[in-house]
Assembly symmetry: C2
Homo-oligomer: 522 residues x 2
């Protein structure tokens, strides 16, 4: 395993000065004066009466063993009555033991994070993502929600604009909307955010938005986009990174689904997925924006939520040292550090599995979600006539278009997702006779989609997420489909395939078809 280059590395460039991106809050943060005391910790024979911390001998826990599975375990069928060899016991020894004992984990810990876990994250980032500059740092956080909130507090000022994907995660929006920040959504296609539209938006900024501050931050979920499921290929990333350099933009790469990248879906392909070696798995991944980042303008957000468990509430930033230092100051006064239990268990699991084992686990896990994606689309194919978009005359259609069987009425289309947990269905409303009855509404598209959502939830008893939730907030004058300049006559639902069983998918699609026929058939 390669140790990442340090500050002194002459091969890779160092991060450029990006301090002008810090907002006034993050500039004003000071280190705690108590940190000043740390430099005395090395004095030989020192007796410290400084730390106001509970004595770790009083934590009421003995040697504890966490029962994990080895990385070779099949995530789709863990043994229900495991024998000794089926399990991987992770020992967290009691206070007074050598090494990373439980009492250390349960004490106040460094806000930089559990040293073993930080070291793991450094080495893993170097092995998998290979940043293109030398002095990047790792800083642990409480998962990507916490991380994004910290980035908002690091960079955005009230009234700023923010570049987002055309459709983006509502919970991420909830962090910046209350600041009075508005989104500038950039159009997407099957490869994610469109570089041509980003370029046009930035080039024409002063003429289309006179007097509005230029955006300095792009928020993006480039693998298994939430909600669209798209994964951005390398060439598109390079185009976007080049624009970020040209227009001095920071890229926040929120990448929880990075290890859930699937092969293309083929209609009717019943080939089982084949586990890959760690090396082949690595090669199957699109490069992170980090891998293009020669200047340190990418803040990458990694998390264990989709790969080990969201309840850990542990993730990490990979960013330039200026940003991680300011984020550390913020961490010291809010989350302080992730849970000691979470950190100790993760550190033990990952160092025991080793990187090759973790990659093996990820490869198996990715296959599980690939099969889920396949089964949901296969189920749709059994109720609808799915045709390649190119074979139809529908404008802007990508991927597959679903027609009612035995008719020429297109109902919806979708791009089979190449990552993540979601199918993003685009509905063609103009062919629905019922849609016309909403034409007098202020926002006919949204009114009809709300109606359709209600029909699906209460009549078919299947719950999808209305697509309107993913339209970025652009301010109070842009709350309708037309006002936002979005395509008219269409609407969206997000369909998650991560939780339903195969049988539930089949049954759900059958129920879905009944409502759709009612709404679309004359």
């Amino acid at each position: 395993m390669t140790v990442p280059p340090t500050n002194g590395n002459a091969v890779l460039p160092q991060a450029i000065d990006l301090s002008h991106h810090l907002n006034s809050l993050s500039r004003a943060r000071q280190p705690s004066p108590l940190k000043f005391l740390f430099k005395y910790a090395a004095i030989p024979n020192l007796l410290s009466f400084a730390g106001g911390v509970p004595h770790p001998s009083y934590f009421p826990f003995h040697d504890t063993t966490i029962s994990a599975y080895p990385f070779t375990a099949d995530p789709s069928s863990f043994p229900s009555n495991p024998t000794e060899g089926d399990l991987l016991p992770l020992l967290l020894p009691k206070y007074g033991s050598k090494g990373n004992d439980l009492a250390t984990a349960l004490q106040y810990g460094a806000s930089t994070g559990h040293p073993t876990l930080v070291k793991w994250a450094r080495e893993f980032t170097q092995e998998i993502f290979k940043p293109a500059y030398g002095d990047w740092e790792i800083l642990l956080n409480d998962g990507n929600t916490d991380a994004w909130s910290k980035i908002v507090r690091l960079l955005l000022e009230p009234g700023d604009t923010l570049l987002t994907e055309e459709y983006t995660f509502p919970s991420a929006q909830a962090a910046w909307i209350p600041l009075g920040v508005t989104a500038v959504p950039i159009k997407m296609d099957e490869h994610g955010l469109r570089a041509d539209h980003l370029s046009k938006t930035l080039a024409e900024w002063e003429t289309t938005r006179p007097g509005v501050r230029r955006p300095k931050l792009l928020y993006i979920i480039p693998v298994g986009s939430n909600p669209t499921g798209s994964t951005m290929p390398a060439h598109r990333r390079q185009e976007i990174y080049d624009l970020a350099v040209e227009y001095d933009i920071i890229i926040a790469e929120d990448d929880p689904y990075t290890f859930l990248q699937f092969p293309q879906y083929t209609v009717g392909d019943k080939t089982a997925v084949v586990p890959q070696s760690g090396e082949d798995f690595k090669k199957s991944l699109v490069p992170s924006f980090l891998n293009l980042d020669t200047q340190g303008r990418v803040i990458r957000l990694d998390t264990f939520s989709k790969t080990i468990g969201p309840g850990f509430r542990v993730g990490y930033f990979v960013a330039n040292p200026l940003f991680t230092e300011r984020l550390l100051r913020s961490t010291e006064v809010d989350s302080q550090a992730p849970s000691g239990w979470s950190q100790a268990i993760l550190a033990s699991l990952l160092t025991t599995w080793k990187n090759s084992g973790y990659l093996h686990w990820l490869s198996n896990l990715r296959d599980q979600y690939t099969l889920r994606r396949n089964h949901l689309i296969d189920s749709l194919a059994s109720s609808f006539d799915l045709r390649p978009a190119g074979s139809t005359a529908i404008p802007n259609a990508e991927g597959l278009v679903a027609f009612l069987e035995g008719s020429e009425i297109p109902v919806f289309s979708f791009v089979p997702p190449t990552g993540g947990m979601f199918l993003w269905l685009k509905f063609y409303l103009t062919e629905s006779p019922n849609f016309k009855s909403f034409s007098a509404e202020e926002d006919p598209e949204q009114a009809f989609m709300t109606h359709l959502f209600e029909e699906l939830a209460t009549k078919a008893t299947i719950l999808l997420v209305p697509g309107a939730y993913y339209s970025p907030w652009q301010g109070k004058d842009k709350t309708t489909t037309a006002a936002r300049g979005e395509e008219l006559g269409v609407g969206y639902f997000r369909v998650a395939y991560s939780m339903a069983t195969n049988e539930e998918m089949e049954e759900g699609v059958r129920r879905f078809e009944i409502v759709i026929r009612k709404e679309w058939e004359l």
Copy 2:
């Protein structure tokens, strides 16, 4: 156990409308639109394709047993080779088990917190603190640092003033200083913050601070104050609460040391501490501000950091429902929820111990810290001549004054702490011949105390915390002892007795005495 009154309770008053205290950020927060979907969850036979969450069957953990100790275990001597009866195994069963299984804990959880833990906190708060209004709520957070940071984001606007104790916790300050908020410190005595000075400060506000916005928030650590160690008795709390009502002030009661309340220290008293029954232990506690709060203007911060372990990163707010709702909106977009491991382990431990057991544990733990306090003061008594302040002629002295043995030179005084982890030493500098050599400095007190700190750290190799760290930030024009209007000719150190062994305390005091003699003797 009494179930707390609900909104419909006619016996206790409901919280009054305090919505004018919310800042613009917290007012602007919106619930996530995804929450809207929750109301459909009760539809019979519903198939949900809404949640974008990993499948819990893939979390790589089997039935796991956490090895805790029973509440009867002596925290000063846990068995090193325990037999079965010495341990309390807490089972966290794997995915698919009935009840609170591990897979539920490791999934995304409600931001309100683990239901069992929330229920425990409600019942425990009612049993111990007995709020004086009816519709209070519990909201979990990631510990008091996180909690205080969330209160700052809930209530304070840039440029606001904040009421604090005369000496307060630097890490709490680090949350509000970058906002441009300045402190208005209120004088303290051996009972903590002085109501008479609070009253005077508020009554004379417009004349002493013309044009400055009135403070609306008081931050206070009323038990085992950090740094002074003082604990505020009930009558003082009532006076302060009445002022809060009169001047419409919110009280943030940061109370990590609430279960570490000690009996008075008596010089030379070698009586061993005696464990109390749960009922006697409860009676020994001063009432929380909650117990006086008929209007819902107290936000109480409770944590497990000092009683179970800081590494859990779990605490909880007790507050009026308006504030907990706004804090929940904030929680959803940052910490999201405490670690599932931490919550599940705490929930299991506390419900297994039961409240009576937890009180037993707390009583034992309190005794350990009482013995530590006693030993540190006993050690000081063996090197210095400790006299009751009243028997000396020193102005403003409280508690005990330490004279160099065989001399009439008073060096420092302290009030034996009645809670927490700290001794707060007040040094009389004017008797030190060396102090005079600093008289030309901008801030002679701070310059001498920094010198003394360095001497102690590098010559005596004992580390204390300089008292200046605890002076609240009042702005750039008040950075010296004189400019802040603090008492001249004195200085402070905070001494923690939570970590050192008895032998280290004795050795530390011997080393301390050598430096003090050098600095104070002619």
